[in-house]
């Protein structure tokens, strides 16, 4: 019995940090409507800075002073980030905001290694809380007891801050309707900056307080951000009390899940999240997200199928690509195969995002599941390659069917966070379930059969499949299904009013995209000859997002172009520099701020500018309005 009580208390102690970070994310979202992906990065910097400071200043005052000073210093960094970057993208689509803050996260990961080195750092114990308390023969670290008390105290302080101060009233008002608050003459800029600073302070404090418990390392940002996303999805984005309750819930589930499913404890959290989402889609304490006021003047060129000339040009490009083995070496062919596979991956996500309006932040899960599907079939069942290639993607299909069912219950940022959490769950299973997946060691020796083994043959195979998939998805875009799907994206209200089952359309699109990604993954397994948990990791999911955005999310061909340019650039970059994450992160931030329409979008704009001498609005005004009779 005592053991379970101790386990419970450990869970409560873990909840403290999680609550601090999650409440910061919630506060920032409430006012600025930005889901700050970089929140985990601020948490990590908080831990690193606190480590450095506590090493230098010892003693009780030195330690606790360092913790607070670290949080304040990181909050200052947050202010700079807000003023330099976020102010430029408050009116961008939410997807761009998530991506920009993700780009920041990538940059921070490399910077942290550059400054503090790649090794884990073990911090000092907290003065005054070094020992343990005996509880019926079980030890509880006294620092855990401190954290257990701290959580509710911070909750109380936040409550006072929001209920009893003028600033708190403004923040609550802005959470309800920020346009109205601005119309009342409140200086919105400084309100946003101060809210961001408070949110970042909480994240950094959460990180700093972790150092007596856990080693500081450069991957702690992604681990915490996924847990925080799960917490805010369960608790309700924008609710502080929700963040508290959900943080306790998730921490306890983790603490006891280890006892029930030692190998795949994360499953338990997932099941609870799934139940919450079915019963209360906006979280336990959340409210449905009010639709944002639409930016006026936002027109998109209606899509059209390729003209016959453009079709010929695309065919010619394919033929030229197919001649690559005639003059290129083996390395170039392997790179070519990889690009072709990533075209499949990007096109599948593009279908979901551009046509369905569903920005998945965990699309790599289905790519990776396709790869694992092939590995299982080839290594365990010993099936021939062609059968594996046909059946392997079905694992991606099944994963997409299960997770997609839950994900499409939500929309917007909730959808993005949920898909990310699902992908991370799949990653954890691949990582933890060593007996089946090989864990970190992966599954090796997935080699293609003789007919596809040579680089040129494999290249032709990958190119052919990529072309088929691209054509099939393009047909789907212009099929009745594609139009129905776009209808759900443009106006869910109108779609339901003309008999469209919005959720089922979206679910179908999710399964199509997931299966297609699985086809890419299946080929990828054979290209690499092995499968690792990284094949379904977050960074791969983000690669896909960047490819789609780089190509242009409002265009039909964005996926293909984006994949080719990005993958070629990426492979080249990795061969040139050790700081690829830093460069890549900077690149992502740059795309979001400078080229939000992507390559294809820009080309279309240029072509249109050349074609029309008068702006499109002019012709409409010049024509007489016809009468109704």
């Amino acid at each position: 019995m005592a053991f379970y009580v101790v386990q419970f208390l450990t869970g409560l102690a873990s909840a403290a940090s999680l609550f601090l970070v999650a409440s910061g994310l919630s506060i920032i979202f409430g006012v600025t409507r930005i889901v700050n992906f970089a929140h985990g990065a601020f948490y990590m910097i908080g831990a690193y800075v606190a480590f450095t400071l506590t090493e230098r200043f010892s003693g009780t005052f030195g330690f606790w002073g360092s913790i607070v000073a670290a949080a304040l210093a990181v909050a200052l960094i947050g202010v700079i980030v807000e003023m330099v970057l976020l102010r430029r993208i408050y009116h961008a689509p939410e997807l761009f905001q998530l991506l920009a803050t993700f780009g920041l996260t990538l940059m921070v990961e490399d910077l942290v290694v550059l400054i503090w080195g790649p090794d884990d750092l073990v911090g000092r114990r907290a003065p005054g809380f070094k020992g343990a308390v005996d509880f019926f023969g079980q030890n509880i670290p006294s620092y855990d007891l401190f954290l257990i008390v701290l959580g509710p105290v911070v909750l109380g302080i936040l409550w006072l801050l929001f209920q009893r101060t003028r600033w708190g009233v403004l923040v609550r008002a802005a959470t309800q309707d920020r346009d109205m608050v601005a119309a009342l003459g409140v200086n919105q800029k400084w309100l946003f900056t101060s809210v961001f600073a408070v949110g970042v302070f909480l994240a950094a404090l959460g990180g700093a307080l972790q150092i007596p418990r856990d080693a500081v390392h450069h991957a702690m940002d992604l681990r915490i951000i996924v847990e925080v996303f799960v917490v805010v999805v369960i608790g309700g984005l924008g609710s502080i009390i929700g963040a508290f309750v959900a943080a306790v819930l998730v921490s306890e589930l983790n603490a006891f899940g280890i006892l029930i499913f030692p190998k795949i404890s994360i499953i338990l959290v997932f099941l609870v999240m799934a139940v919450v989402l079915i019963v209360r889609p906006w979280g336990l304490f959340g409210r449905p997200e009010a639709p944002a006021r639409k930016t006026p003047g936002l027109t998109v060129n209606p899509w059209r199928p390729l003209t016959s000339n453009e079709r010929l040009a695309a065919l010619a490009a394919l033929v030229i690509a197919a001649t690559l083995p005639l003059f290129a070496g083996n390395y170039a062919l392997t790179v070519g195969s990889e690009i072709a596979i990533f075209v499949i991956f990007a096109v599948s996500l593009h279908f979901l995002m551009a046509v369905g309006g569903l920005a998945s932040f965990g699309h790599a899960a289905y790519f990776g599941l396709g790869a694992y599907g092939v590995a299982f079939l080839a290594k365990m069942a010993g099936l021939p390659m062609i059968v594996c290639l046909l059946l392997g993607p079905l694992l991606g299909c099944m994963g997409a069917a299960v997770f997609g069912f839950f994900a499409v219950q939500l929309s917007g940022v909730y959808f993005a966070m949920l898909t990310l959490a699902f992908a991370q769950i799949v990653w954890s299973i691949a990582f933890q379930w060593v007996s089946v997946t090989g864990g970190d060691n992966g599954i090796l020796g997935v080699w293609p059969e003789k007919w596809a083994a040579s680089p040129s043959h494999f290249y032709w195979l990958a190119l052919g499949v990529a072309a088929l998939v691209t054509v099939a998805l393009r047909l789907a875009v212009f099929s009745p299904f594609g139009y129905g799907l776009r209808a759900t994206r443009d106006s869910a209200l109108r779609s339901e009013a003309i008999g469209v089952n919005v959720k089922r359309m979206q679910w179908t699109a999710f399964v199509i995209a997931g299966t297609t990604a699985g086809i890419g993954g299946a080929l990828f397994a054979y290209l690499k000859g092995s499968v690792f948990p990284d094949n379904l990791g977050i960074s791969l999911s983000v690669d896909a997002l960047v490819m789609v955005l780089l190509g242009g999310v409002e265009t039909v061909s964005g996926g293909v172009i984006g994949a080719i340019v990005y993958k070629a650039l990426n492979i080249w970059l990795v061969s040139q520099t050790d700081l690829s994450k830093l460069v890549l992160g900077g690149f992502i931030v740059l795309i979001v701020v400078v080229f939000p329409k992507g390559i294809v979008g820009m080309l279309e704009m240029l072509a249109q500018r050349r074609k029309s001498t008068s702006p499109p609005g002019g012709t409409l005004l010049a024509k007489p309005i016809e009468s109704a009779e």
């Binding site: 139009y483 776009r486 443009d490």
Partner: protein, 263 residues
Amino acid sequence: MSVAPPLLVVEGLTKSYGGIHAVRGVSFSLRAGEILALIGPNGAGKSTCFDMLNGQNRPDTGHVRLLGEDTTGKKPREIWRLGVGRTFQITATFATMTVRENVQVALISHGKQLFNLWGSTPSFDRGEAGRLLELVGMGGYADRPCGELAYGDLKRLELAVALANQPKLLLMDEPTAGMAPRERVDLMRLTAQIAREKSIGVLFTEHDMDVVFEHADRIIVLNRGTLIAEGSPAEVRGNPQVQAVYLGEGLVYDSRHREGAPA
């Protein structure tokens, strides 16, 4: 007009939010080809009532019967499948598509082709979409991006979309809100003409009394959630209770205003 069997029968609809009775025991019916206006001051329960008919809100008690079938608590898309077209107070259209494509999507849904992955939409029911657009006077706009349309034209487009499933009943929530006076008259005249030709029943809510009295065959008046009057425009206009609701306080205000104001 001969007496046709009722298209829509509403019996004892009631809805409360907490202690507030938004709608209390409202009953009425609507025949094919009839144009019925639902009016009442702000907060009378029009929107609540309307949302219970189109499936966006579920009544606490009471029933809605459409063509003899009980549609109480059905989803909007299920009600649409029974032959109900609707337009919104604030237009809801597909902004990234052309005008024609907006109508084509409705036709695709009507033809149960939504899960067809292989057909080609640009040629799908193109003729029928064109006919519907001609009908509402939007034939010349078919290839325009929907996002470029003026508000009055969006309202007409909505009407074309609402007609795509050959509805027996049209539900129009404040169809002329936000339009210029000339456009209001045109749109309602067009609606009335189509409804009579195709024998479609129309139920609409409206604040503009000129529109109501000119186009409605019959009017029902809600006040504080209950139905206080029902009848022809002439009957409703002469009903003292309706006058009290609409004009009572206005007259007091008006007279005081005249006494005090210099001009």
